[in-house]
């Protein structure tokens, strides 16, 4: 190359941190199409998370339990407040609600198989209950969503629990959208809509508005199901103190709280990345609400949004949750985003690990699709086996940590077992910053 600067040093090209390449690419995409980006998955930005907390482990004042030998219980009961038949789970890791439509029938079957082997529950989603899922799930939670697609009293009675969905972490305040490409005959029939059209799921329930109405709605659902089923209320991580308080007031047996990292099948990117609070910031506020009402452990708290490891499970429980739910991690365990499909991800203009166009129905792994050929790639028996393995590892990891903290039940983990690595995490989780006995906002201290 011809040097026209007479050999004088030049500045190197510097990419703007504000107008980064991905940001610019999105501006160009928006300019070319006039449509916002819709995608699946959860927030991709880095937010304060469980990684910003550490366990302290045992010491002279706290003695540990022997790994593998001494008992460390993992069971949990959900729905003991009002329901005649609370749900008993062997492990505190549940499978979150994911819609049939977003996921294929065999993928739903695999979730049921894996969860049942591991002794935990699965959850339906928008679009109703499928035979695959009911048949293969020992414990199935039936979602009661604003769209009421497929809702009927028979399925309500076949369910083991009912989850009234007010919001989701990925999009608190947003409805859903299943694009026309994924509307097969079966999906269309279950939802009572023509094939091939985009199906919107309303953001608000059609027949109740505030907490007073919700209380009456819960009464109706309990009357229909003979007061047998636990009733959960699921909220996105928006105002966890007030939402938890109102859910308890309305009569919930269980509160499900989903942080902003939580996955979705299809939502506007701007919603996924910019609305809602990280789960780390939500748990203590929800627990505080339960404690203020004298309902902690009486009304159980299930949290979700970015749970990946047994450490995450243990940290969520140490902050006061009774159980956790997983969505994205379960799909990855089934085989979603597996590098073995790299060539096909490349053909779709993406790469394994980054594939998030779940709304398009062209998933090479055959999980987030209704295309018969792609679906056939996925083996629900093998998928179930993998999910069971993964759930076992989560549980063993959480137990390992709990024993090291001297706890004979995962529920005995407590905030005192933790320290925070960053000021942000300290403030959000109300956990002392490592090396100090202080967190921002600690009562009796100044900032």
């Amino acid at each position: 190359m011809k040097d026209d600067h007479n050999g004088a040093p030049r500045t190197v090209p510097i990419q703007s941190a504000t107008f980064s390449n991905p940001v610019n690419a999105e501006i160009r995409r928006a300019a070319a199409t006039g449509i916002y980006d819709i995608r699946g998955g959860g927030a991709k930005r880095k937010v304060p998370h469980f990684d910003d907390l550490l366990f302290l482990g045992a010491s002279i004042s706290r003695y540990p339990l022997e790994g593998y030998r001494e008992k460390c219980e993992t069971s949990v009961t959900l729905g003991s407040r009002f329901a005649k038949n609370p749900i008993q789970l062997d492990i505190p890791v549940t499978i979150a609600g994911m819609s049939f439509g977003a996921l294929s029938g065999p993928a739903k079957e695999a979730l049921g198989r894996g969860a049942t082997m591991a002794g935990t529950s699965t959850t339906t989603g928008d679009g109703g209950m499928t035979e695959e899922e009911r048949g293969h799930s020992n414990k199935l939670v039936y979602q009661y969503l604003p769209s009421r697609y497929g809702m009927n009293p028979d399925d309500l009675r076949r369910a083991d629990a009912i989850e009234i969905v007010v919001g989701q972490g990925a999009k608190p305040g947003g409805g859903g959208m299943l694009l026309g490409q994924k509307i097969s005959d079966r999906v269309a029939e279950m939802r009572n809509l023509p094939k091939g059209i985009d199906q919107r799921s309303a953001c608000r329930h059609p027949d109740w508005t505030g907490p007073d109405d919700l209380e009456i709605k819960i009464l109706e659902l309990r009357e229909i199901t003979n007061w047998e089923k636990p009733i959960y209320i699921k909220v996105g991580g928006a105002r966890p103190y007030f939402d938890t308080t109102l859910a308890v007031k309305a009569g919930a047996d269980v509160v499900v709280l989903d942080g902003m990292q939580g996955g979705t099948a299809a939502t506007q990117d701007v919603f996924i990345e910019h609305v809602g609070q990280p789960i780390l910031a939500c748990i203590r506020e929800a627990v505080r609400a339960l404690q203020d009402l004298d309902m902690h452990r009486e009304v159980q708290l299930v949290v979700s949004g970015g749970i990946r490891t047994g450490a995450d499970v243990a940290k969520a429980m140490a902050l006061g949750a009774d159980a956790v739910a997983i969505g994205t991690a379960a799909l990855i365990a089934l085989g979603d985003n597996d590098p073995k499909w790299e060539a096909e991800y490349n053909a779709l203009g993406t790469t394994a690990g980054a594939y998030d166009d779940w709304q398009e129905g062209r998933d090479p792994a055959g999980i987030t699709t209704q295309d018969p050929e792609l679906m056939a790639r996925f083996d629900p028996v093998e998928g179930g086996r993998r999910l069971n393995n993964y759930l076992k590892v989560l549980t063993l990891e959480a137990q390992t940590i709990a024993r090291a903290c001297g706890k004979n039940h995962l529920h005995n983990l407590e905030p005192e077992d933790l320290c925070a690595l960053t000021l942000e995490a300290a403030a959000m989780a109300k956990i002392p910053l490592a090396g100090t006995d202080w967190y921002p906002g600690k009562p009796g201290t100044s900032y």
């Binding site: 809702m151 309500l156 009572n192 059609p206 027949d207 009357e223 003979n226």
Partner: protein, 225 residues
């Protein structure tokens, strides 16, 4: 005939007694007295029985009904016959908001007026209102028929899918993607049957039909708000 005093015997006993009726029950006639605006009366029924409610009810009367005929001799609160699957619900008086919301089947007849959001998100139910209906009725209505012998409020049929709306009187305004459509002989025939089922003496020829323009069916930025 079984008479049930709701005030004396309580809601739980009422609904569990009604749920205990099998499809071949010979206790086919039930009278509920003293409803006094209670919520969730006769919800989740699933037998070919006839239930007469002597008075007015609160929220969700006859919610998720299957097979049964529930006749309210009074007015009803919000969400009457919500998510009904089959059977028939008749209201002699007026209905509050969201009557027949998300109903999948069966017939809801309201002899008085219905408030806002009547037939919201309906999925196959037939709703026949002798009087007027309030704003945002048939919002996101998917299928089934809504017949209004009086007038309709603002934003009728907003974001409508395939439900058919028949209105005899005036429509204050149509919601997004809802348009007036031609009344062809097949629609007259459908409407005549509905009017007869609903006990209306109106003539089908006096009604106008409204339906979806189907412009919102696939996401297009020019239609977004």
């Amino acid at each position: 005939m079984q008479t049930f005093d709701l005030e004396a015997q309580g809601l739980r006993e009422l609904n569990s007694s009604l749920h205990a009726q099998a499809s071949d029950t010979n206790q086919t006639h039930w009278e509920i007295v003293n409803p006094k605006g209670s919520h969730a009366i006769a919800v989740g029924l699933d037998a070919p029985i006839e239930v007469n409610v002597r008075g007015s009810t609160g929220y969700y009367c006859a919610g998720m009904n299957k097979q049964a005929t529930v006749h309210v001799h009074g007015s009803v609160g919000p969400g009457t016959a919500e998510n009904m699957m089959s059977g028939m619900v008749v209201v002699e008086g007026d209905a509050s908001q969201y009557a027949g919301a998300t109903g999948h089947g069966g017939t809801l007849v309201i002899k008085g007026n219905a408030s806002s959001r009547c037939g919201i998100s309906m999925k196959g139910i037939d709703i026949i209102v002798h009087g007027n209906i309030g704003h945002m009725s048939a919002f996101m209505a998917q299928s089934g028929n809504l017949v209004v012998c009086g007038d309709a409020g603002e934003a009728l049929g907003d974001s409508l899918y395939e439900a058919r709306l028949f209105v005899r009187g005036s429509v204050k305004s149509l919601g997004a993607d809802c348009i007036e459509k031609e009344m062809r002989p097949e629609h007259i025939a459908i409407l005549e049957e509905l009017l007869e089922r609903g006990g209306c003496d109106a003539k089908a020829s006096e009604f106008k039909r409204y339906g979806s323009a189907r412009k919102l069916y696939n996401f297009n930025i020019d239609n977004a708000y």
